[in-house]
Symmetry: C2
Subunit: 488 residues, 2 copies
């Protein structure tokens, strides 16, 4: 793609001045309409050192309404960022619906540098590009509009630019020694960039390569590309979000029917095994910090399956400073204006810590599917999105253990009735719980599909036979211990 | 207070077991009622090393519903935390309404250590306690219920506890060398603690000192103190939040009437002075990082006074990476469930950065006052809260510059009409803007009172005569430059 870029584009001052008023009015107008349009815009400003990224970002800040603009420049990760999965810092700054983000430097920078400087292989680079495609597709499917701009300059122009920056005391600090080292490998960078752009120019998030030698041309061209992309999306039909409630389905036969729900444990064996597992757990969690690892435990299961009781058996064994328990209920309005995975990224543990999710991102393919809060297209693609998300976690060294707690319908009814009798538990039970029972087949089919599709070898679901609480709690504790032992 | 604590409190295993069921049920019940009660609970677990803070926090985690509990343990601040005002890390973990936070270690720890180890004086300690009283009163007035627990043990018990912790491989890591050093100064700590507890045991946030030698007694006593405080508040009448719209008042004569709104600048002088100030501003902002300082610019003023235009003259001069512009509109639901100052703490800049607030915390004493969104008691006490907040900023080295942009009523009307004619600006003007004009006297009286009460020497308001846009912009830019020059 780079070789197709014609050099020599330039705008005279007069041409530029004549173009500006209309361009700026159009940008502001598109931005005003965006605010009500329910999607967000992510603009990537990428390219070699000296290509003028920072100047154009500043210019766009001047032309757009900065109140509805998020701007972030990615350089070396901070301590906070390094102790979480690599993409955490990108997720944290993703704009809510109605806003534009300008990212200068992005998820492309590190893989390209790693490859050019021999820290990764061709195969690894291809893997990283596939990962980027997955990430961008996930966001694009969630409504994010991508405008990916690559600023291209010739080797000669790059050299002149770097020299000019160094000549002025006001800009000298912006040229690092590594910029000159990279300049020496200009040809290699062009080759790799070609490859990266080809592999990641997708329908959902295409690249635009700009001749970046002339400042005025580059500013105007970048603004026009952003404007065109916004105009096109704003003109399109807004996507319909008609919730469709699924028709009841007959009793499905699923993997869940194969569980032996008669499994149980006697009191003394329970107490002995529980105490042993809790002791091990405490010691294993202490190891996390030293090994620069973190852990995430996910609890899903039917209503009244005993998630809370199992979680308490874990938390009682831990120092309260080492974990955070996040119950997932309806999202807040800030969360609702972001991609549905955003709120889980928010709570990722730093090294040495454990996050326990009481319900989780699987709500997308469970309650949101069954109740029609997500469209069919949305929940169908969520399996892949979730697998991608979990791969981010496990590849970053997060120890991920996921549980599905299962009970029979009869046992569930018995527990509901029991809760109604108990003053301390009565608040837990609502009419909705009974209503959900009418959809039990739907929920079970959804759970079975989720278990089948989201159990990769690196992050399998642990199925827990939970009719007997003692059996379930010991199985949960011992599974966590086993996972930590294997990975620490 | 410490000498009044009778030693020798203890509970036998039988007594403890007999007490527990009722205590736990009552705690869960109170917690369930809290969720609908619209206030939050902050529990401080403080005391010397070896007093059993961590064990009791864990026990409370076990007894309460951990899903609605926030727990944070404060030790050495991280890099992120060090680059912001000291209390930032406390504000960030304050619980939303309906939740309980358990803080182990708190804002009391550092001042006490500093004093005992000779890093601060008696006078400085008293100042810090006054600051704490202000902080706690601000939160208490906002509805937070404080339960401040001080765990007290004798020197002998402390020694035994530290030895026991060191004897077990599972707890050895929890004893630091500094714990033994502090133990050597036990008497000094008791003396300072006495003083601290006396100075900070206020009506809004009283201290409770517990005999902490016996584990069971300490757990139960702590739980009961929390329970009693919650019960008392839950039983009280919920505070009335009847919004009261103020009656129109006659034209007040205020400091704003003294402004010479005929001040203006010619085009060439404007361009010259603006460019000069912008150049200086760019260089000054670059210095922030090196000096480990940050800056906050606050813009308030009548509608259409030209805040946006003035802000743009600043941002155009800056590298887009160095600032963040935060427009303040209606709070999100997460923000609404916290203290009204919480959302401003969220956006405090780290070292090297500038945050620009387009409207700000002054909304409390302006629009919220005039429109009756805040009660009279709320906006009246806000002056002090805001002064305290700003002192936190300036004492932490934040360079704070606040502007009030003022125009005449006639000029405002002219600008409204002009905006209606301009397609690019039409979206800025709504019926509400005209409605607000009817309350102009209210707004002006509120502004005048704010200017009088919130202009301490360390953070004065800059009054900007803004009928002439050129004059206003230059005055804003030059004021920012002057403030930065003075402080860098």
């Amino acid at each position: 793609m780079l070789k197709d870029v014609q050099g020599g584009h330039a705008l005279s001052k007069d041409q530029y001045d004549a173009l500006l008023p209309e361009l700026r009015a159009a940008l502001l107008d598109a931005q005003a309409r965006l605010r009500k349009a329910g999607f967000s815009v992510v603009v990537l400003i990428n390219g070699a050192a000296g290509a003028g990224k920072s100047e154009t970002v500043n210019k766009l800040h001047e032309w757009l309404d900065a109140r509805f603009l998020v701007s972030e420049s990615y350089e070396e990760p901070t301590e906070e960022e390094r102790s979480r999965p690599e993409y955490w810092r990108y997720w944290m700054w993703l704009p809510p619906a109605g806003r534009i983000a300008l990212f200068s430097g992005s998820w492309y920078t590190r893989p390209i540098l790693d490859y050019v400087w021999g820290r990764s292989s061709e195969a690894r680079l291809a893997e990283e590009m596939a990962r980027i495609n997955g990430f961008e597709r996930t966001l694009a499917d969630g409504g994010t509009l991508f405008v990916k701009l690559w600023f291209h300059v010739s080797k000669k122009v790059q050299q002149k630019r770097l020299e000019a920056l160094e000549d002025s005391p006001a800009t000298r600090f912006r040229v690092a020694k590594s910029d000159w080292k990279n300049h020496g490998r200009y040809g290699e960078f062009v080759r790799v960039t070609e490859q990266v752009l080809e592999q990641t120019s997708t329908g959902a998030a295409p690249w635009h390569v700009l001749d970046a030698a002339d400042d005025r041309y580059r500013h105007v061209k970048a603004a026009r590309l952003i404007l065109d992309a916004m105009e096109a999306r704003l003109a399109g039909r807004s996507r319909s979000h008609e919730p469709e409630r699924l028709a009841p389905i007959p009793d499905p036969h699923t993997v869940l029917d194969e569980l032996d729900l008669s499994l149980s444990l006697g009191k003394s064996e329970y107490e002995e095994r529980l105490a042993a597992a809790q002791g091990k757990l405490f010691r294993l969690v202490r190891k996390l910090q030293k090994r620069e690892r973190s852990a995430i435990l996910v609890f899903e299961g039917s209503d009244a399956a005993g998630k809370g009781g199992a979680i308490r058996r874990i938390t009682w064994a831990l120092d309260s400073r080492s974990y955070r328990l996040i119950p997932i209920a309806a999202p807040s309005d800030e969360e609702r204006s972001h991609h549905y995975l955003w709120r889980f990224w928010r709570y990722l543990p730093r090294h040495g810590r454990v996050t326990i999710f009481d319900r989780s991102w699987y709500g997308r393919v469970l309650v949101e599917r069954v109740e029609g809060f997500a469209t069919e297209a949305e929940w169908r693609r969520a399996y892949q999105e979730i697998n991608d998300f979990e791969r981010e976690l496990t590849e970053a060294g997060v120890i991920l253990v996921k549980f599905w707690l299962h009970i029979t319908s009869e046992e569930q009814l018995r527990r509901f009735e029991e809760r109604k009798q108990d003053p301390a538990k009565r608040y837990k039970i609502t009419a909705e719980d009974y209503r959900n029972r009418e959809q039990a087949n739907q929920y079970e089919a959804a759970a079975a599909e989720m278990l089948a599709r989201c159990s990769p070898p690196t992050a399998p679901f642990v199925l827990v036979e939970a009719n007997d609480k003692r059996y379930a709690r010991v199985k949960v504790l011992e599974s966590v211990v086993r996972a930590l032992e294997q990975q620490l």
